[in-house]
Amino acid sequence: MKNMILAMGLSLLVIQTPLAADALKNSLTNILNDKNSVGMVNLDNLSINGKPKPTTHFKKRSPNTIISTVKGYKIRKKEADAFLNKVTKGKVKDYDRLPKKQRKIVIKELVKIHTLKNKKSRPSTAVIATVNGVNIIKKEADNFLKRMTSGKVKDFDKLDKKQRKLLIRDLARPIVLKSEVDMNLTTEERDGILRQVWLEKQKSSIKVTNDEMLALYEEKKSQSLAVNPNAVIPAYLTIGKQLKSEVIEKKITQKLMKDVKIEINFDDHSTEDSNKSTTVIR
């Protein structure tokens, strides 16, 4: 039996050797016969500085192995692997392959996540910050957070210290601005601004027809001509915007003055009646 195997091996060697020799021979002949060839063998793919890679042996542990215990929180390898996978977008998946320094960072992060996850949330009415003496309640911060993260994070108490600080700073801005406005704007200024905003809001909801604008134009035209028959009247189309605005103002005033009760306090010393009298206009 042994002899048979030996004979078979020998015969295979004998068959293969001329095949390999033929290929080499052909290749060399081609180089010599090819006019374009520089007569060199391409060694581009050969690494001449190649050093053998050091073989590191990792101690691969099972996914359920407890890799660390921090204040009673037992961290299993699979948790760390999953975290790594997520953070490195699938590039690193095995905690055991990390150097010691990086392992420490992973554990620290996992503890942070665990602590925040298990932290008890305060009620929504709890005061979480004060800005210039103005309270910010948790509900406001939660709503803001929800808006900012498109509903992904909803609980202020689940944020870490740095994130909380940033969020409160964002919430503080309008409060700080408001206290500055309160201190620096006079009552008259405030009144004027709010009046303007209200009027603008009304204007956007009032519709004006061409007929209404034309009627006002004709009215103004006849008024002008009554005062000065030679007055130059601008063309209707050139004052369209102004007319529209006036019609709107007129409509707003009419609406406001409808059923209005005005009482005037006449304190007139020059008239026959020196007593105060009140006139009611309806």
Binding site: I168, L185, I264
Partner: protein, 160 residues
């Protein structure tokens, strides 16, 4: 005791008279003070007329002129939400504060370069306008940030 009460009611009556004397008119219960009427008259008559000197029909005319503005003020207070009010007032104050500030072209250019670099780093596909076109809005942004920054520095923030 009776004397005290009498004195008190007298004082109250006198106080009320004072208030009445200061009221030129009421529009739907909203007060127009003599002071307000005089301010309006000062503008209208170029300082020649006062509420006291104004004849009855003149007073009526003036109050009718002032009434819509009073009614608008009242409607604004009622109809605008707290948020709308805050936004309008803050916006006005910010505009006023910004108009007092000057931001140099150099500062704006530096900010523009920084923004451009950040957009490149973020591989943003949005087209960034030329500096000259964006200059004014960048200056406004810088001014606004500086104003808010100063306020925030002064602010007393306590996180619980």
């Amino acid at each position: 005791m009776k004397k005290t009460l009498a004195t008190l009611s007298l004082a109250l009556m006198l106080g009320m008279t004072g208030v009445m004397a200061n009221t030129a008119a009421t529009v739907n219960g909203i007060e127009i003070t003599v002071d307000e009427a005089n301010k309006a008259l000062k503008v209208l008559s170029k300082g020649k007329m006062t509420w006291e000197k104004l004849p009855k029909d003149g007073k009526t005319q003036l109050i009718q002129m002032m009434a819509p503005s009073k009614l608008v003020s009242e409607a604004a207070k009622k109809d605008l939400s707290e948020k709308e009010k805050e936004a309008a007032l803050s916006g006005f104050w910010m505009q006023r504060s910004m108009s007092k500030m000057t931001v140099s072209d150099e500062k704006a250019k530096a900010a523009y370069k920084k923004m451009k670099k950040a957009a490149k780093a973020a591989k943003s596909k949005e087209k960034i306008p030329e500096f000259d076109k964006a200059k004014q809005s960048i200056k406004m942004q810088i001014a606004q940030e500086e104003i808010v920054g100063k306020l925030m520095k002064k602010a007393e923030i306590k996180i619980k």
